[in-house]
Subunit: 471 residues, 2 copies
């Protein structure tokens, strides 16, 4: 049975059961998404102040068979936050639930509401001299609920894990409107199925996360940043192994940048300072977070030297100041901006088994060359096997001329990823963009289990309809 | 509709579809469990050699409505591996599926079959100069499938996480017999719901794990072990915070031992060497796993000194050799054996928010004193907030005299744990022992979701019937 739209009649009835101003007509910002690929059609947005209001809204939607679209910071890249067609769902924005409910520095725990912005959570942790390690480019806008619902990744996964690994407990509203009071602050809890892990990464299709007990970590006593030039992705991987042998978990980030990344920055963002006189074929950005008594420069130079001796590293720059470290990070973090200026034909957020990465990068170029002439900017979180593998027109051409081959390019890249045991969505999720990919590449038994779980927990199908699983 | 028993007729029919010798009559070892609380009633055990045979067996059970009881090393402490009543299920032992299918030291990954014994997996990892960090007392017997299905804990959770955190991918047979080929070796994979996390810790009630891609870690360059005497659990927690500030993730284990632990060892196992002239009120066993260039003795002495200066540590012993480190670990690891000699009235595997631990320990004693005179041996994985809180008769009395108060003692302890936001099963799971506890203490929304998931994935209810969720 199809869902009903969240029309004016539904909104007016629901409004009467809620405090004034909880429901509003949507503004354009709720209907746009970063890549401009879709435009939402929702007419109403609910702005609850607490979990009880979320529960009342969810219950009403479930009873009226009206779709509910949980909305965080709106930064998702796969359309999980936008309903472009079908019966218009009610948008449920958590933006009024921004409280840091409590911090427990002695437990390394912080409890935040779903609407809290990531940067604010990081700052609250730092006030207690603790680190909330989740870190990504959109941290000034992205909200905790969205980050957890999409199991966000970012630059510190190598050391601290994905968003799912940062969560001890959840408070959430299930599709029938019941509240799960699961805000446990426990490191070990084997009382039944991992409902927490199931909601994390479900992209709002199994319920709405309203608050989370988050793991904190000690703040490293010192950090060090370096750019090390390497000959190939294989050399970069060997260097990573060396770094982890020398420094264990103190390797916080290990990012890959290719020559195309430097070229794109020079072409699109000439104000970004180029660190090397001549851009190396490949380069890694290493960040260390060290414990007391260790000196970042010494540690990085030891890695540099060992890398040189092993024939892995040909050149390198160790940041001499916080400002220089920031410059190095700017190079990495502004590559996506440069990419947008150049204009990608197709972008891919893929992961591979670590040892398959070099072959993937090489074979990808060969296979793409069979489709035409392209430029590939391949960069990303090498330590996690996660590449952003983006395909561009040759210099002087525009992406608009390549609309026809876009699907072929994506299929080519994703087929190769799949053949090599990788994932076609490493950190961005499925949203609406990759529903077809999921159906094409997912293991059939897993897909059947997902559908059974969705039907069991959300039999009416109100939660983020059309995302992840076709409605 | 009730299940049918795995009787001779069923076994003989199934036998004909499988290679000779796959089905056998059960030997006593499959029907006993470590605490001797229950005796199993199963008449037949299946011993498959590969996932296809597991699939065929599961499919047959599902079609015939016959229960299936996945069996690992048989070391579980909550009766998850024993069916003492109801229609006799078929036992499915993974003991023939012991292969280490592959190791990828350069990826920090190892793929093991479910029947592999933990110690063998640890050894295979070490051959590649890598660490598989899951470690617990039964590691010479416990098998990977059981360890993962119960989301096992152990002594290294503080640093490396529970079993669930050690798994990148799974191969499993779902209740309808379909095979989930999910042996991904990826650090990031956001393609749909976390079916992996759901099967991990489901105690075989949602499917049978047949193989896993496991995360490895670098082997620490040096390890150091110390026993540090502290005045109170609160002081122990402050010392933990200090240790993590000094050493970050290099604190691998942080175990609490109380005076009662030393007294019990002296009483029951006098051959265990007592480290202190006079047993301290409380003591922590600290293990460090250090990176290159760090000296364990220096690091432990720095912690010792800082602890003394902060008024947290009153005495301490730093192991001077591998043998002495082993002696220290023996003290910790033989406490359960001493407990068995003394004879507990009731044992509890609980976890608390870290900052609630001191109050829990104190209030627990007060509340128990209202029920009678007892001795409490409280020890465990302090860093994880996980205590084994075991209640014994006063000296000279026997547990047999306390059968009547056993339930009251358990209720008293578990009620307190629940009031303080803790878990009544930190690392052992629910099995059959704690089904009532789960129903009493679990959040109703979570329990309803668990039942819905169980019904969705296992509609006939064949998988480990009676464990976790009442059948």
């Amino acid at each position: 049975m199809p869902l009903n739209p969240a029309d004016d009649a539904f909104a007016e009835t629901l409004s009467r059961a809620l405090p004034e101003g909880t429901l509003r007509r949507t503004e354009p910002r709720y209907l746009e998404e970063p890549r401009g690929r879709w435009l939402g059609i929702s007419g109403w947005v609910a702005l609850p102040r607490n979990v009880e209001e979320v529960s009342a809204i969810t219950r009403a939607c479930n009873a009226a068979r009206v779709g509910l679209l949980p909305y965080g910071g709106g930064t998702g890249l796969v359309g999980g936050q936008i309903a472009p067609d079908g019966p218009a769902p009610l948008i449920l924005s958590l933006e009024r639930m921004t409280a840091i409910r409590a911090t427990y520095p002695e437990e390394n725990v912080l409890v935040a509401e779903a609407g809290a912005v990531l940067a604010d959570v990081q700052a609250a942790a730092l006030e207690g001299n603790r680190l909330f390690p989740l870190s990504l480019a959109s941290e000034g806008t992205a909200r905790i609920g969205g980050l957890l619902s999409t199991n966000a990744g970012g630059v510190n996964v190598l050391r601290y894990g994905n968003a799912r690994e940062q969560v001890l407990g959840l408070e959430a509203v299930l599709p029938d409107g019941t509240i799960w009071h699961g805000l446990k602050r426990l490191r070990k809890d084997n009382t039944g199925y991992d409902l927490r892990g199931l909601l994390l990464g479900a992209e709002g299709t199994l319920g709405v996360i309203t608050a989370a007990a988050l793991k904190l970590s000690p703040v490293p006593a010192a950090t060090g940043t370096a750019l090390l030039a390497v000959e190939s992705p294989a050399a970069a991987l060997s260097l990573l192994a060396l770094a982890r042998e020398q420094l264990g978990e103190m390797v916080s980030a290990f990012e890959l940048i290719g020559r195309m990344g430097f070229d794109f920055l020079a072409e699109a963002l000439p104000e970004v300072r180029q660190p090397f006189a001549e851009a190396p074929a490949w380069c890694v950005l290493v960040e260390l977070g060290l414990t007391q008594g260790m000196d970042p420069e010494t540690a990085l130079e030891a890695l540099f030297t060992a890398g040189m001796e092993a024939g892995l590293v040909s050149d390198g720059l160790v940041a001499q100041s916080e400002a220089q470290a920031q410059q190095f990070w700017d190079i990495r973090e502004r590559i996506p901006e440069a990419n947008r200026h150049i204009g990608a034909i197709a972008s891919h957020d893929v992961s591979l088994p670590l040892s398959a990465l070099p072959e993937f990068i090489e074979t990808g170029l060969t296979r793409l060359a069979e489709l035409g002439e392209f430029r590939v900017n391949c960069f990303g979180h090498l330590g996690d096997g996660n590449l952003h593998y983006n395909v561009f027109p040759p210099k002087g051409r525009k992406k608009q001329d390549y609309v026809d081959v876009r699907a072929d390019v994506q299929r080519c890249v994703h087929d190769l990823v799949h053949e090599m045991g990788g994932s076609v969505s490493a950190e961005h999720g499925i949203g609406r963009l990759k529903v077809d990919d999921l159906e094409r590449y997912a293991d059939p038994a897993k897909l059947a289990a997902m559908r059974a779980i969705k039907a069991a927990l959300d039999p009416v199908g109100i939660m983020n309809p059309g995302a992840v699983i076709r409605s």
